[in-house]
């Protein structure tokens, strides 16, 4: 009986020891695999399937896919991407964000529009999940305190707005003392830029005529808006019309309405209208936060240009999204290199520590974030549409 007890006890100890040893070996093995493969997923939120900016959304999606492919190859990671169409619509963005938060994604790229970030920022903050936008430029997104996990790789409107206004003044795009018409599309992004540009232009002696149209209008109603704006607001003393809109297609339609009514004014669009496939009114200026990398000598830019060729024509919207995706991918890689499994918390911490030199950045500036998620270094870019509808980069000062 006693021997049997000893034997049973010995068996129990051996079994326990075996389980412990096997478990430890197994854990080490799993950790080794995780470290080797560094597998995880991220989400890309962009308006690539619905809404008024699908062209730009698709460009963002393609550049994000390219960035991930390049980063996976360079870092030896296996990061997959979930594609979430937001339609540039805060309500749809909220729905998509909730499903991203419920998924295993450790970080997100996007969303594209400032109004979308306003809607989803607190959700990401609550989930402790980093999200990096390549195009949301409303200054308050970083300063409001509501979006604690928000980052952006583009300068905000406090850079773009004054840059544009000062360019107009310096290069006399409108004769001194004349009227400048500025039209917002009733979205946060558009109204933010108007608020920044108007006082600068007014202080320079221009009369600023601020009008609005409903950016969600379509068809005959939209045309009615544009015809009326062109008819009643573009007078003989109006030489410049600023269109800080999110829809390049609408800007094109407005430009054609002006042409149809025989109004000869210069248009000045902002990043939302930057779409070489859609907005091609000759003589127009278009500012953007992303550079033209098509002729760049930088190895990074050359690699992007080569990789993106298969997706067709692109504008200046893709590059910032490439950069945003690269930041996320590098953060995940750094977590894996530190021997940890990527989680929302450690990826967020790694994103905060991002430090990419100007030489390795497609944005032409170092990528390093302030505490509020804004870039430390900021630059703007300007394009002029020539008589053939091509975008030609010009110095923005």
């Amino acid at each position: 009986m006693h021997l049997r007890r000893i034997f049973a006890g010995a068996l129990g100890v051996m079994a326990l020891a075996s389980v412990t040893v096997l478990g430890a070996t197994g854990s080490a093995h799993v950790a080794k695999i995780a470290k080797a493969s560094c597998s995880t997923s991220i989400a890309v939120e962009a308006p690539f399937a619905t809404g008024p900016a699908t062209q730009l959304g698709l460009e963002q999606l393609h550049f994000a896919q390219l960035a991930l492919a390049m980063a996976n190859k360079a870092n030896g990671t296996h990061i997959t991407v979930g594609k979430d169409d937001t339609g540039l619509n805060p309500s749809l963005a909220t729905t998509r964000t909730n499903s991203i938060i419920a998924s295993k994604a450790v970080a997100a790229v996007g969303p594209a529009g400032s109004q979308e970030v306003e809607a989803v920022g607190p959700l990401f903050a609550k989930a402790g999940m980093a999200f990096i936008s390549g195009s949301a430029t409303l200054p308050a997104l970083a300063t409001s305190g509501a979006n604690t996990t928000f980052f952006r790789v583009v300068p905000d409107d406090n850079i773009q707005g004054p840059n544009d206004a000062n360019y107009i003044i310096k290069h006399k795009l409108a004769p001194a003392g004349s009227t400048i018409l500025i039209v917002d599309d009733q979205e946060a992004y558009s109204q933010g830029l108007v608020a920044v540009m108007t006082p600068i232009l007014t202080a320079a002696g221009y009369t600023v005529n601020h009008q609005s149209y409903n950016g969600t209008d379509t068809g005959a109603t939209l045309q009615s808006d544009f015809s009326s704006l062109a008819t009643s607001q573009v007078s003989a003393t109006t030489h410049l019309v600023i269109v800080p809109w999110q829809s390049a297609g609408n800007a094109q339609q407005f430009g054609q309405t002006l042409q149809q009514q025989g109004k000869t004014v210069t248009l000045f669009g902002t990043d939302g209208t930057d779409s070489p496939g859609q907005f091609v009114i000759p003589g127009t200026y278009v500012s953007n936060f992303g550079p033209d990398i098509s002729t760049s000598k930088s190895p990074v830019d050359k690699a992007i240009v080569k990789g993106i060729k298969k997706y067709g024509a692109y504008g200046a919207f893709g590059v910032p999204t490439w950069e945003a995706t690269t930041v996320v991918a590098n953060a995940i890689s750094s977590v894996c290199k530190a021997g940890k499994t990527p989680s929302r918390a450690n990826v967020l911490a790694a994103v905060r520590k991002t430090n990419i030199s100007a030489a390795n950045s497609a944005m032409g500036v170092p990528i390093k974030f302030q505490a509020n998620g804004d870039l430390v270094a900021k630059a703007g870019y300007l394009f002029h549409i020539d008589s053939k509808g091509n975008y030609v980069e010009v110095p923005d000062k």
């Binding site: 690539f48 399937a49 619905t50 809404g51 008024p52 699908t54 062209q55 169409d85 339609g87 009733q186 009008q211 609005s212 149209y213 409903n214 209008d217 379509t218 068809g219 005959a220 109603t221 939209l222 045309q223 009615s224 808006d225 015809s227 009326s228 704006l229 008819t231 009643s232 829809s247 297609g249 609408n250 094109q252 339609q253 054609q256 042409q259 149809q260 009514q261 025989g262 859609q278």
Partner: protein
């Protein structure tokens, strides 16, 4: 004065398009007492048919057929195609519900609207496409009157719309189909007892109404350029407002209602603000409902005593 005339031109052009769509609403309501909320999406489908016709003939900048021929082709194909789609919708979605409570076909109409929108989204993507009509109908082909430019496309829209409206009036007033339609609208059971093929009459009504929406879609694409799967919603809503203001079920009412809505929208955008144009248009709808619920040309319902 220049602003006034240019605004008037814009109002008439948009009003003509609303009127064409509103006619379909009115005709269908006349015979079935159904608010066909999918009607605006038929207009959207027509716009897409026109767009693909342009691409089929080489694209806006490299057309391989003369422009007048292209425009006629686009309108005919869109009219026939969308008309046939309207008939199919009636046959498979509304006819089985003809004797169901009125809420059932109404909900079905909303469902059909979403199906059409999302089908176009799935088939062709959410891209905003552009007819780029100025490439083959340049702005220099305009009439200039005292600083006001009237583009050839705007003239085409007004001429074709007026011709179609008068054609429809003749069809309703002077043909056997028109008589059948009026009989079905007046009393469906009595019409059936008199030997009128009600099913065929209703199908023909759907065909004509949908065809007009299809042609309106093509003209909208020519004039405004941008088309997408969502353009039908707002246009349909405005046209519905036009039909109600004019008197739903009344053909002259739909024509006048369309023009009233187009002009109100245009003048409120020019002289008040485009921010308030929708508010003004829908305020007119509410005011009409309060003051004259049957609309300007509508008949008050008969009270059987």
């Amino acid at each position: 004065m220049q602003i006034f005339i240019q605004t008037l031109v814009t109002g008439i052009v948009t009003g003509c398009l609303y009127a064409l769509i509103a006619l379909g609403y009115s005709m269908v309501y006349g015979v079935l007492k159904l608010l066909n909320f999918a009607h605006g999406d038929l207009y959207m489908v027509g716009a897409f048919v026109g767009y693909f016709a342009i691409q089929w003939f080489g694209g806006a900048t490299a057309l391989i057929i003369p422009v007048p021929l292209l425009i006629i082709f686009m309108m005919v194909v869109a009219g026939l195609g969308v008309g046939a789609l309207g008939v199919a919708i009636e046959r498979f979605a509304y006819r089985p519900l003809r004797n169901a409570p009125r809420i059932a076909p109404l909900i079905t109409a909303l469902g059909i609207s979403f199906i059409l929108e999302d089908s176009v989204l799935l088939l062709f993507g959410g891209f905003t496409r552009n007819y780029n009509a100025p490439a083959f109908l340049p702005f220099r082909q305009s009439i200039h009157i005292d600083g006001v430019n009237i583009w050839s496309v705007q003239i085409i829209i007004v001429v074709v719309s007026v011709a179609m409206m008068f054609g429809l009036r003749e069809l309703v007033n002077r043909t056997l189909f028109g008589k059948s339609m009026r009989a079905v609208a007046s009393d469906r059971e009595a019409a059936e007892m008199l030997g009128i093929n009600v099913d065929r009459t209703i199908a023909m009504t759907f065909f004509v109404g949908s065809a007009m929406a299809g042609v309106a879609g093509v003209m909208s694409g020519l004039a405004f350029g941008q088309i997408s799967n969502i353009i039908g919603f707002l246009a349909g809503l405005k046209a519905f407002t036009a039909a109600v203001v004019g008197g739903i079920g009344s053909i002259p009412g739909a024509m006048i209602g369309g023009l009233v809505i187009g002009l109100c929208e245009s003048f409120s955008s020019s002289y008040v603000s485009s921010q308030y144009s929708d508010l003004i248009v829908f305020a007119i709808l509410i005011a009409t409902m309060l003051v004259r619920p049957q609309g300007v040309f509508g008949q008050p319902p008969l009270q059987k005593v």
